[in-house]
Amino acid sequence: MNVKALTESGVTANESVTPRPPAKRNSGFWKSVLQQKYLYLMSLPFVIWVFIFSYVPIWGWLMAFQNYKPVRSFSEQKWVGLDNFRELFQDERFYLVLRNTLAMSMLGLIFGFVVPILFAVMLNELRGNVFKRSVQTISYLPHFVSWVVVGGIVYKTLAIDGGIVNDLLLWMNVIDEPIQFMAKGKYFWGVLTAADIWKETGWNAIIYLAAITGIDKELYEAAKVDGAGRVKQMFNITLPGIRTTVMVLLIMNIGHLVGIGFEKQFQLQNNMVTDYSEVLDLYALKYGIQIGRFSYGTAISMFTSVVSVILLFTANGLMKKFAKESIM
């Protein structure tokens, strides 16, 4: 997805460079289509792809207004209006899982941005190429480890009986007895965010490193001539240089705030912490699909999608206004 965002931003950048003839509206449009026919042809497959996989399935949303039963044909389904939504908004558990979802995705958003950017900028300052490359490779390897395995690793590391974290803290005399990290609900968000950072920092940094490579070397040379030190260069050239990339990714991620999936939570949770670990998608799975209430599940995901779209447009609008950056 990140890569897609980059190419998209690249395309918009190119287009804004091309001067458009201020011709009459209608004919001008067709003229530019003709002029850029190869570009249009190139994007066609992707438009079709998006249409098939992102728009066609929306028709399944109708399920949310039915009491859907599998196998029966569409005309045999019973329509129930807004009953599913009414039930959803009356369930206390829904607000609890919404809180968890927002809390964990906000944490993910904050740390998922700051840490990889810092990491990328610092990695960029390294001189030794061999060292730099190996650090980069090692740091993004965890990205390819599945959450099932990461879940096991986290449990083993944080165990009270032989877990390395507790052993270390005990050895350093920071604590007197092992902390039950995985049994306390209030630790869950922190544990999850930390695991996520460990897993994804290296991978997310790649995109910023790529953006940094795109910065004109002459800028650095000019700065050096003007007497700017490394720290000054970092703040005045590197960070502003990747600003566009950061903004685009930020807006896109805000759009995903409520739809964070449930894989990490599913792998890390246990019965003791469900009040803090259950997220919207997990709730949809448990109270929707698992007990055969497909309509209810659809209502939840419909809610998620609508909120996502609203968030995306709000974030985009705000950025446009205050930071003069946007993706639309």
Binding site: K69, V71, Y155, N270
Partner: protein
């Protein structure tokens, strides 16, 4: 110009190749998705020739089992090959992974209608039935199932689904008909080394159990260099029921009716946590935790961590069923550490209660169902019928003559010593190569203690066999208690009447409406609050437990109990003809 057009052509080429690749990928996916449906087709449809004769032409059926089956060897084991040779049938089987249960997988099947030919759906059968995906086997059994009819005999009534829908959707196969257990595999467990060192103390109540663990851990705070764990339980997902919540009713003299307690006279059902006796059981666990006897990791650890602990030999006591912890115990056996394996005791809260483990439920179990995806249900029934014949049953439980068992001059079957040894000490590998015990759910079968026409037992577990499979450490412990099997310590079948309600954890419940939602909610509450109550300070226990009960009712438990009571009454009238 020239350069530009070359570039364009190149781009277009690349693009179209991507497009083609994309389509190719989709095409493959579509093909993959439809295969399970197609593979049910028998290559040649000449089956209809004779009704009773067994068609042995090659046929492949797809299958899903809701229990994990890690030793499944794709029918490439000895028994599997024999089955294919005799019947022509090969199963393309898939089993649930992890801790099993199959709920999620089966819910997806019900949604998509994409089911295998044969399914072992356990508790999720009703989901499939309500989706109209399971076929009624009544007529098929009548026509093609002489052996099935023989095995179930007068119990055919009990195969019916419900009072309102008297179809036969599954044949119960995860239990043996007429089963008389020879050995106890549940109750409370204590390691043999503990029993031996403490001179075989009396273990009858939870207080005795507690004392044994406490005394031993004082003597040996470490096992093989690691801290000794007096007691640990497995609370991962549904296993919390096996080791944490179910023992609450077994120790207080109630039979296993799943999450409910059903009054045997009035058939009124209530969530079993509401019984005052059970609160006392959980209070005892709370005490165990606060004394440091219950492992602190109990409610956090995952299934594999629990098994690893059992396999390390440092857990003195368990409260579980042998099948639940056997993976860990088998590792101990394989390593020759028999003194670290476990004996079983019918522990109850106080002496006034009796362990109801051996109360008979009659025929009532999870089983095999045929789906609408099956192209040739007749062939499947015939196959299941063959599997249920004497020949099939002996093959499934004993294996192959002269390879796995021998018949002596008096016609007595005996398992070869190396196979018996392998099954006891190197279970996984032996099961993978021989296939013994891998096909038990595929067909009706008699239970332990039933003899066939040759005067041999149908199953390999009969008193002598069981004693023969005990390790030295186990025999020593039993001798210490003047018993030959663990069952000798337990209350016997004939001390209880046969349950008129059957095993109520099998009772099909409505899949739509409020019931499922309330049930799910109460389950969430149980799995959260029971650990909380056990881990609370002793002074807070009452407060937490009472709040837990109030929360259950707030979630609608009473409506659900009322609905369940109705279902129980209907089942009793269907099975016994009583008018309730």
């Amino acid at each position: 110009m020239n350069r530009k057009s070359t570039k364009t052509i190149f781009t277009l080429l690349l693009m179209s190749s991507m497009l083609i690749a994309g389509c190719g990928g989709n095409g493959n996916n579509a093909a993959n998705n439809t295969t399970p449906n197609n593979s049910g087709t028998t290559p040649d449809a000449t089956a209809a020739a004779d009704d009773t004769a067994l068609d042995t032409s090659p046929a492949t059926f797809t299958f899903f089992g809701a229990d994990a089956s890690p030793n499944w060897n794709k029918m490439q084991d000895d028994v599997g090959k024999a089955i294919t040779e005799k019947t022509g049938v090969t199963l393309e089987a898939e089993f649930d992974v992890g801790s099993g249960g199959g709920d999620q997988k089966i819910a997806m099947m019900a949604a998509s209608g994409d089911v295998p030919d044969i399914i072992f759906a356990k508790g999720s059968l009703s989901t499939l039935v309500d989706a109209g995906l399971i076929i009624d086997m009544t007529d098929l059994i009548d026509k093609y199932g002489p052996n099935l009819k023989k095995v179930y005999g007068e119990n055919m009534n009990r195969l019916k689904y419900s009072l309102d829908d008297q179809s036969i959707y599954q044949i119960p196969t995860n239990m043996g008909v007429g089963q008389k257990s020879f050995d106890a595999t549940g109750g409370f467990e204590i390691q043999h080394r503990v029993l031996k060192e403490l001179g075989y103390p009396k273990v009858r109540t939870v207080a005795d159990f507690e004392k044994v663990l406490k005394d031993y851990v004082k003597l040996h705070p470490e096992t093989d260099g690691q801290p000794t764990i007096p007691l640990t339980l497995n609370a991962d997902d549904w296993k919390i029921m096996i080791t944490v919540t179910n023992p609450a009713f077994t120790t207080t003299g109630a039979p296993d009716d799943g999450e409910y307690y059903v009054d045997p006279e009035t058939f009124e059902a209530k969530l079993h946590y509401k019984r005052a006796e059970e609160k006392e059981y959980f209070r005892w666990l709370n005490g165990m935790y606060n004394q440091g006897l219950l492992d602190k990791d109990t409610f956090v650890q995952k299934d594999d961590q629990y098994k690893a602990k059992v396999a390390s030999g440092r857990v003195l006591g368990l409260i579980s069923q042998e099948w639940e912890y056997s993976d860990g115990e088998n590792a101990l056996k394989a390593a020759g550490k028999d003194e670290y394996t476990y004996g079983h005791f019918p522990v109850t809260l106080t002496e006034e209660y009796k362990d109801h483990s051996f109360m008979q439920t009659g025929i009532d179990g999870y089983g095999i169902a045929i789906t609408t995806a099956a192209k040739d249900p007749e062939r499947i029934i015939k196959w299941l019928d063959w599997m249920s014949s004497d020949e099939g049953q002996v093959l499934r439980t004993w294996g192959i003559k002269d390879k796995h068992y021998t018949v002596d001059a008096n016609g007595k079957r005996e398992v070869l010593p190396e196979i018996r040894d392998g099954l006891a000490n190197d279970t996984a590998n032996t099961q993978k190569t021989t296939g013994i015990g891998q096909y038990l759910i595929f067909g009706a079968r008699y239970g332990d203690g039933v003899k066939d026409s040759t005067d041999n037992y149908y199953t390999t577990s009969f008193p002598e066999q069981i004693v023969a499979s005990y390790s030295e450490a186990e025999k020593e412990s039993l001798a210490g208690y003047k018993a030959t099997t663990w069952k000798d310590l337990f209350p016997k079948e004939d001390e209880f009447p046969v349950k008129e309600t059957g095993a109520l954890y099998n009772l099909p419940v409505p899949t739509d409406g409020k019931y499922q939602v309330i049930f799910k909610k109460t389950q969430d509450i149980v799995r959260k609050r029971i650990p909380e109550a056990i881990l609370s300070k002793p002074a807070d226990f009452d407060k937490v437990y009472d709040a837990f009960l109030a929360e259950l009712d707030k979630a609608g438990a009473q409506d659900m109990e009322k609905e369940f009571t109705e279902l129980v009454k209907k089942r009793v009238s269907l099975w016994t003809g009583k008018n309730l």
